[in-house]
Symmetry: C2
Subunit: 150 residues, 2 copies
Amino acid sequence: MIAKAQTQTAAEGLPPVAAQARRFGKARSAQSHARMEDYAELISDLIAAQGEARATDIARRLGVSHATTIKFLARMKAEGLVTSQPYRGVFLTAAGAALAERTRKRHRLVVDLLVAVGVPQDVAEADAEGIEHHVSDAALAAFARFVDAR
Amino acid sequence: MIAKAQTQTAAEGLPPVAAQARRFGKARSAQSHARMEDYAELISDLIAAQGEARATDIARRLGVSHATTIKFLARMKAEGLVTSQPYRGVFLTAAGAALAERTRKRHRLVVDLLVAVGVPQDVAEADAEGIEHHVSDAALAAFARFVDAR
DNA sequence: TCCAATATGTAGCCTTGGCTACAATTGGCA
DNA sequence: TGCCAATTGTAGCCAAGGCTACATATTGGA
């Protein structure tokens, strides 16, 4: 009875293996972009609010150690998203700024959608931080239509 | 000009440091529970659909190697969520079954909500896989009210 | 009955993203 | 002007969760 119903059949009610695997894989890899997006958006916000983004501030706001932040910023620099001189602040490249802008728009739209369906504002803000990285463009478009149509 | 506006002030437009750090921290740690939930739900689905959950099937459906699955199952066993005999299938404990049920309910509710705001069914299914782990109980309650009220 | 295919388990490696501890630089102010 | 505190950078550690390669167990069918 052990190796019987295993020949790709007998999947009553379950999605096809390939589709489900793709889905889970996408959810997994979304997580690696997520941090980049968080950083880009936060750096952009900090520059807008106080004129510069400093590693220590970023670390404090993300709730991680400054060492973690500096290591991550090195990765973003390698990917051409930020620039920095030693002991000067962090700046976004054009690519980084574009990523920040896209992320911010998506973040706002997710919050708006959540609020529109009745989620309290503060809960919406908090949940959006996790949700936003998993919303596809197709879903985002639907969100925009729904929010606009109200 | 470098170390000037840093004394917790000058946060025009930005959320308070502590709140934002908590938010990001929560989003980060949600990710560790996420995998447990995925496994529990999938095991439950497999048992329902084909009478047993086998490591190879789980691996195939998650899109990871069987070695990864077996290592992860060991962790779940250590946490009392599943049991298994060597070369027999995997079974959920009461705690594991409860987790699966909670996760499944949440998953369905997220899909329903997405569909209700106009996201196509297949997109909703795919996105929900990533989104569901970041939806708080408060937001979930709002989702339920919204979906019911239609 | 026994063997080959499949499933399961183990070992060892890699990357990511955390951390602490220590080193170096900067800049304000006494 | 020189020193001290804060910021920034470096080094080395850890756990999680991937992987491949190899070892072991099981079972259906020749």
